[in-house]
Amino acid sequence: MRNPVYTAIAIGVGIVVLLGYFLQFDLLINLRIILLEWATILVATTLLIGVVNLFIVHWRKSTTDQPNRVNSIALLAGLTITLGVAGWFGPTDPYSLWIFNYILIPIEASLMGILSVVLIYAGVRLLRRKPNLLSIVFIATAVVILLMTGPLFGIDIPGLAELRIWIGKVPAVAGARGILLGVSLGIIAAGLRILMGADRPYGGN
């Protein structure tokens, strides 16, 4: 049984926010601002709920005899320490920044470094099995962009810099525009479906 209350609330709020774009009535604008602030508070609350849920799940995993419970214990330790330091000293305190600078950033930067090695390895092996036109074009484009993005020891290869600019402005931008248009159309369609009640991601199936 579909709950008409959920549907009415969702459609009503959506229409009010949408109309606020087009109609400059004070009542409508104020109502729209209030609704947006409520949504912001709700999302912040869900973030807190998510953190609590994450803590509970990994607490259960760490207290029961499960494989990889060490990972859960490490996660709980990291969460507790970070929360304690940032909560006690403040998020901009040097202690909090120390955790950020010397733990979080190096870990993520290491992942990016590994990613670069893996991508080069994949590029090397791409021509190993039955190279075709697309794979050759892919490799050639990657090599041109890599060479001309960097300084290349100050060497100016005629035509290569122009080719890099052309690739960046024409084929790449054309593909990106197509993606953006597709995304926009998809968002419009999804918004209309929600406004008409065809999609009900808020529940009340």
Partner: protein
């Protein structure tokens, strides 16, 4: 002992039998004269009719029928008139015969049950035959003629059987016009009774097929092969031992080592060997916009990137912020990512060595806007209501009741900022900012400009916004190259040359590895294949 199959029930009978022991049907095809000369002989009636031949009641007539005949002979000593010829005997015989002679006008001699169904017998149209019966007769005639033709063309199963048994005589089909008298069964004594078609109702023994599977030699060979394969599948095979160090491992480690050395070499041994890029259009536009900012201009800065890309974005943004702070801009830091406020604080801390930035006076950190696009829209619509406090819990905005921080003084809406700078590495986040801000800032009366400092991977996604008209994005600094170009344009010589050299060496070596490695992987197998082919030709 020879046996014969009954054409009616299909059971076997001795060949001497005339009738079936089981169903009393004729075992041999009947042959007789024409039905024209004889009329149907009904027990008890035939003797009273002129022209009706008498029959031998002693031989085949049952007792009950003989008694009935005798009683009728006594009753009918006087001749009957024509009207009553059928009436009385019919009453005495049975009800079904009464139904047949209902009108009382037709005589028994004229009535012949077999006559209307005989194809070669003319139907007297003077008789009062119903229209439906006439049609049925014509249809019956047509079917019989077609069946006769078919029987002549196609040998029946009985003919095939006869041929196989050496009997060359054609099958004998009973002549239904013969009018033979029935000798048994409930129709005993009647002539011209339609009998079942010998061929149609014949029940034969079903053919028997051998249940043994006929397998040829080749099929047997395939079966043996399949069996051997299945048996091999059931046998456990020893797993091949994995090499502790495979060729792929060596290649990966080799690539990592070469890349690491290429990046470390400029950092350790050289300094600013590679020239900075001359000009970049997007960076130049950002430089122009910052140069035109008024004194103590309020600038909103969004930090929306992940810590993994902090090195690239920090380095690219540093010359821009050097220029910005030198112009006396007051910064408001904000983020839609949970790690963004810490990244912003960390970035500002990197300037503290060169110039002291006082929190609240020259910059303020508003922290994190939850809710993604909704939260961002809320902030754009109503900054003071959405984020009323700073990350440290201070009142961020100036109101009628209390004073706010100097860095945010005079800001009541988003268009009060002179510039919005966004540091971003994710295409969705960049699109979210641009699309939520565009309706507000794309206005001839609004002087707020939007500038993006992005990772190099994001250039194709954000460039369409920069090159469109009207411009949602007014300036664009892309990656280390954009930052280096900005440093060169602004005249700042503090761009970290070690990073730039390492970046240049790293990209060059990466391109070289892909090129050389790819060609090697493609050429070496081709050469070995050609060599093997030549060896085969020599052999």
């Amino acid at each position: 002992m020879e046996e014969i199959y009954c054409p009616q029930c299909g059971k076997t009978n001795p060949i001497d039998n005339k009738f079936c022991d089981f169903c009393l049907a004729h075992l041999h095809p009947q042959e007789g004269g024409s039905a024209d000369s004889e009329s149907i002989s009904v027990p008890g009636i035939g003797e009273n009719q002129n022209g009706l031949g008498g029959h031998d009641s002693d031989s085949n007539v049952p007792d009950w029928l003989s008694e009935l005949q005798q009683s009728k002979e006594v009753e009918n000593e006087e001749p009957l008139d024509s009207d009553s010829e059928l009436g009385k005997p019919a009453d005495a015989i049975s009800d079904w015969m009464t139904g047949v002679s209902g009108d009382g006008e037709a005589t028994i001699g004229e009535f012949s049950p077999a006559a209307p169904f005989l194809p070669d017998q003319e139907i007297n149209e003077s008789q009062d035959i119903p229209h439906w019966l006439n049609d049925a007769l014509i249809e019956e005639e047509t079917q019989d003629l077609l069946e006769d033709e078919r029987l002549e063309e196609v040998p029946s199963a009985s003919e095939e059987k006869d041929v196989s048994q050496g009997d060359s005589s054609p099958p004998k089909i009973r002549d239904e016009t013969s009018g033979d008298r029935e000798n048994a069964g409930p129709l005993a004594g009647l002539k011209g009774v339609l009998s079942a078609e010998p061929g149609a109702a014949r029940v034969r023994k079903p053919r028997t097929y051998s249940a043994k599977l006929k397998v040829s030699t080749s099929q047997r060979a395939h079966i043996d092969l399949l069996n051997s394969l299945l048996e091999d599948e059931g046998q456990p095979q020893p797993l091949p031992q994995r090499r502790s160090i495979s060729q792929q491992h060596m290649l990966r480690w080799g690539i990592a080592l070469v890349l690491l050395m290429a990046i470390l070499w400029p950092i350790v041994f050289t300094n600013q060997e590679m020239p900075l890029p001359d000009y970049d259009e997007g960076s130049a536009e950002v430089n122009r916009l910052i140069s035109q900012l008024p004194e103590n201009a309020r600038v909103l800065v969004g930090f929306d990137f992940e810590p993994g890309l902090a090195a690239e974005l920090d380095t690219a943004a540093k010359p821009v912020f050097d220029h910005l702070l030198s112009e006396g801009a007051l910064l408001t830091l904000i983020s839609t990512s949970p790690s963004g406020p810490i990244l912003a604080e960390r970035f500002i801390q990197s300037f503290q060595a060169d110039q002291l930035l006082i929190y609240g006076l020259e910059y303020v950190n508003l922290g994190y806007i939850p809710g993604g696009a909704v939260g961002l829209l809320s902030f754009i619509e109503n900054p003071q209501g959405t984020i009323p406090f700073t990350i440290d819990g201070l009142v961020a905005w100036e109101t009628d009741e209390r004073n706010g921080l100097p860095a945010t003084a005079g800001i009541s809406q988003i268009t009060d900022y002179s510039m919005i700078i966004l540091l971003v590495d994710d295409p969705d986040t960049a699109r979210m900012w641009i699309e939520q801000l565009s309706p507000t800032i794309i206005n001839p009366q609004v002087l707020t400009s939007l500038v993006l400092i992005t990772s190099a991977q994001l250039e194709p996604v954000v460039r369409p916004y920069y090159e469109s008209s009207p411009q949602p994005v007014n300036g664009l600094v892309v990656g280390l190259r954009g930052g280096a170009a900005y440093a060169r344009i602004s005249g700042g010589d503090d761009f970290p040359g070690k990073f730039w050299d390492a970046f240049g060496m790293g990209t060059f070596v990466a391109a070289l590895l892909i090129l050389v490695g790819g060609l090697g992987y493609y050429v070496i197998p081709e050469l070995s294949r050609t060599a093997r082919g030549q060896e085969k030709v020599k052999r």
